[in-house]
Symmetry: C2
């Protein structure tokens, strides 16, 4: 983890305000800037650093490059009792997805469950942010998205036609913390490969392969190969159907239309997502269902363990613990990141962090 010698702790509120200032400086209305700040910092606070304030310079560059609409007319374009289709008008993904998730929750309150598709959105941070929003309403959440860069070929292929299309599911519990799964459909995320390269470490076999189909373990050669999907053809299939449901069905980008937003500051991504809210109350007594979730969680935690395993983890345990610690002690930011954020502040003529 981060070396304390070169890391500063920043209070979440301070970080939110900084992000909001930066967003306002590039033309985002104050209310939307606040939403973006809150959601980006929520990512940092839960330990999803790759999706937090680290992304701010890139988001600013893309707004300045004309790739993102800072004053979108986010709206429901089609609707029925069990679904809605939201057009994000190319707004910031966080703003679009908060709107869509609120619609899903509202619709699930009357309809029991609701599927909301989204098109013309942008990168919106970690999948779990949106899957978790229904929890406060005693609802389960399900989120699917088309990723913003293709790193995955079809199984047996060489053309990078798929992204690491993520799925996130959040289920409310009673006394236990909620179960929150957030996973990409590849064995390793691309960010983990970059981290290995920075540290001069080799990757284990199974993360990537080269263009001959051989294991690729040197992260400095990452551009000579591709990420491997979980379970081989299964993960490929999962990435494909998630992309069809979150992208193609909504007429959002999928396959060869996907723009690599890491390498492009001017093109519209037309990012697609799906958010579902499923209300426990529609299925029965909420307290009773939550007690049943608690029971499953406790049985799993109490499982006998393999030699050397200190405890059994439930999906979300890591982020719940990180959140508790960081809300108390602040978000750790590495010195080079702080420097780059303050350089950005200088360029935007806003108060530094």
């Amino acid at each position: 983890m981060a070396d304390t010698a070169t890391t500063v702790r920043v209070a979440p509120q301070k970080l939110e305000a900084f992000i909001a200032r930066a967003m306002e400086a590039v033309g985002v209305p104050p209310q939307d800037a606040k939403v973006i700040g809150e959601l980006m910092v929520r990512a940092d606070v839960q330990g999803s650093e790759g999706h937090g304030v680290f992304r701010l310079p890139q988001y600013v560059r893309r707004i300045q490059g004309g790739a993102v609409n800072v004053k979108p007319n986010v709206r429901v374009v089609r609707e029925a009792a069990g679904m809605a289709l939201v057009d994000g008008d190319n707004g910031m993904g966080h703003v679009v997805m908060r709107f869509a998730t609120e619609r899903a929750i509202e619709k699930a309150r009357s309809g029991g469950a609701a599927w909301v598709g989204v098109r013309m959105s942008n990168h919106a941070g970690p999948a779990s942010l949106y899957a978790s929003m229904p929890l406060a309403h005693d609802m389960a959440g399900l989120y699917l998205a088309v990723g913003n860069a293709n790193h995955l070929p079809p199984w047996g292929g060489l053309d990078m036609l798929l992204s690491t299309n993520p799925i996130a599911v959040a289920v409310p519990a009673g006394e236990e913390p909620p179960v929150v799964l957030d996973m990409a459909t590849t064995v390793a995320a691309y960010g983990k490969v970059k981290t290995k390269a920075q540290r001069g470490e080799m990757m284990p076999e199974g993360w990537m392969m080269d263009r001959q189909g051989r294991p690729l373990t040197d992260p400095r050669r990452a551009n000579e190969g591709f990420l491997l999907p979980i379970g081989g053809y299964k993960g490929y299939g999962l990435a494909l159907v998630i992309g069809l449901l979150a992208g193609t069905l909504n007429r959002a980008a999928m396959g060869r239309d996907v723009v690599d937003f890491n390498a492009d500051d001017t093109s519209v991504t037309n990012t697609g997502h799906v958010i579902m809210a499923i209300s426990l109350a529609a299925f029965g007594d909420v307290a009773e269902i939550k007690r049943a979730v608690d029971q499953v969680v406790r049985d799993i935690r109490a499982s006998r363990r393999l030699p050397g395993v200190d405890r059994i983890r439930i999906p979300g345990d890591g982020s719940h613990a990180t959140r508790a610690e960081r809300l108390k002690n602040g978000v750790p930011l590495a010195a080079p990141l702080v420097a780059s954020l303050n350089q950005l502040a200088g360029e935007l003529k806003i108060a530094p962090l």
Copy 2:
């Protein structure tokens, strides 16, 4: 594959009629017996042999053992605009799931999308059967289920608290065949392990591990270890959240409540499922969406290939090809299976196959 010398080809209609006779002989009403025959043979025809007529003796044993209700009152017990909860009254899974899937399709016709949870069901055959039913109505299908035997411990654990909980997704295309993914959340299905044992072959590393966490490759030692989830902790997480949504939310069995229906002919399984139907018409012009699906499928098929790969497969390709071949030439049944079915016929005093 099956050795032609010891394999006979049976016409699907003949096989359906045989299954229906057997079901009627143990008290299933003619209409339900017909549904069970059709759906079990649909599994055989698409190549899901482990879920087809092979299961008939076991189903009969469980009915005779009092574990399954042959005259269930399958009904919607809770309902809202976007969901329903079906109680299968412990009927045969095929009958319960056909009812539930028809409700999902009906509700999606007006509501655009519908989530139908199911409890008090039984083993219903391959996941893709139900995910595929909405296709004929220009709808996508999503199916989740709690498996009927726990073969998977939590990640790092030793207690078998999870099944290989499957997910299936079917998406309609235009000129291309539909995309149909049907996958368990383990690297290998238990049936594949049994096949390796029968053939005297070793398993590759990655399928199973022993109770010390070491790779287990001898299939004759399968009962000394467990199946491995796809992507390690990811597949474990997926199995868990699928189980919570398909089981716990519906108050169906999940975790330690799951009955191993392979080893038990008398206990009620209270099997849980989820079936969703998502209507393309709710999202836009159906033909346009299907053309977009075709485009993604064609781009993937046209991908450059790894050395030694003859073609890129789309999920469902294998079963589409098998279906076409078997509808023409009949379902291949190995001689020992035919013998066991005809022995069953003798016991039930029905006409043999």
